[in-house]
Symmetry: C2
Amino acid sequence: MTATAMLEEDRLDETFAALANSTRRAILARLAQSDATVNELAAPFAMQLPAISKHIKVLERAGFIVRSRNAQFRPCRLAPDRLAEVATWADQYRSIWDDRFDRLDQQLSRRRRAAQPTAPKGTNDR
Amino acid sequence: MTATAMLEEDRLDETFAALANSTRRAILARLAQSDATVNELAAPFAMQLPAISKHIKVLERAGFIVRSRNAQFRPCRLAPDRLAEVATWADQYRSIWDDRFDRLDQQLSRRRRAAQPTAPKGTNDR
DNA sequence: GTTGTAGTTTCCTCCTAGGTTAATTATCCA
DNA sequence: TGGATAATTAACCTAGGAGGAAACTACAAC
């Protein structure tokens, strides 16, 4: 068993926990534009550098970003796997929300048809 | 401004925080099969009822489930909006992971071709 | 009424997350 | 060598999450 053994469920915990913070999501959004250093990533935030450094560490541990070295710099790059994992997880439920939205849509259509024939003017429900 | 005004970012915090727990994700998976009461949802877990009740409250506040009343029962039903929101959020990054996976794929192909120097010109793996 | 079932709330403990400041490491450059 | 820049680590604080136990509310059935 490797040192980095991790249950699927535990990794999903870490994945979603990493996303449950707007600063970290903003960092990911920034990295979607291009790779960036810690200072570049920190610039938009009213927050000390160590705080950003910790956020980056969380994202790195969760596997959302990978880092290299260039002199004093530690540039960050987006890694695709965790993002794809989130999309795949949500997609499990696609049939459900498609169904529910369809049903809602049908209800609205029925209501619209019911309202239509006898609706001369201004008889809008709600 | 409504009483339930909430910034998009704050709601995403709540959305992802709700998902960052395997018990809660399991509850969602169970509800994908059918609606269920609190006791039914609690059955698979080695955990006291109050703990489950709290998890349900978290999911409800986050908007993942809606509840009705039926005598003493408070059946839970999956609500589609937050799940769709997660899928939409992840989908923002689809181009990125498509690109990266493609590039990785190309690199592997080049390496494969380099490893087969005897392959005639124009031969393509895959 | 009383009793039983379903679920929630309160209070407690333990632990972690997010932020601060100050100190420390690593690397370049003059 | 010594100083500037980039980033991390350490020490600390506060707030909140996850769980348990016990008490409580709500409804039904007898």
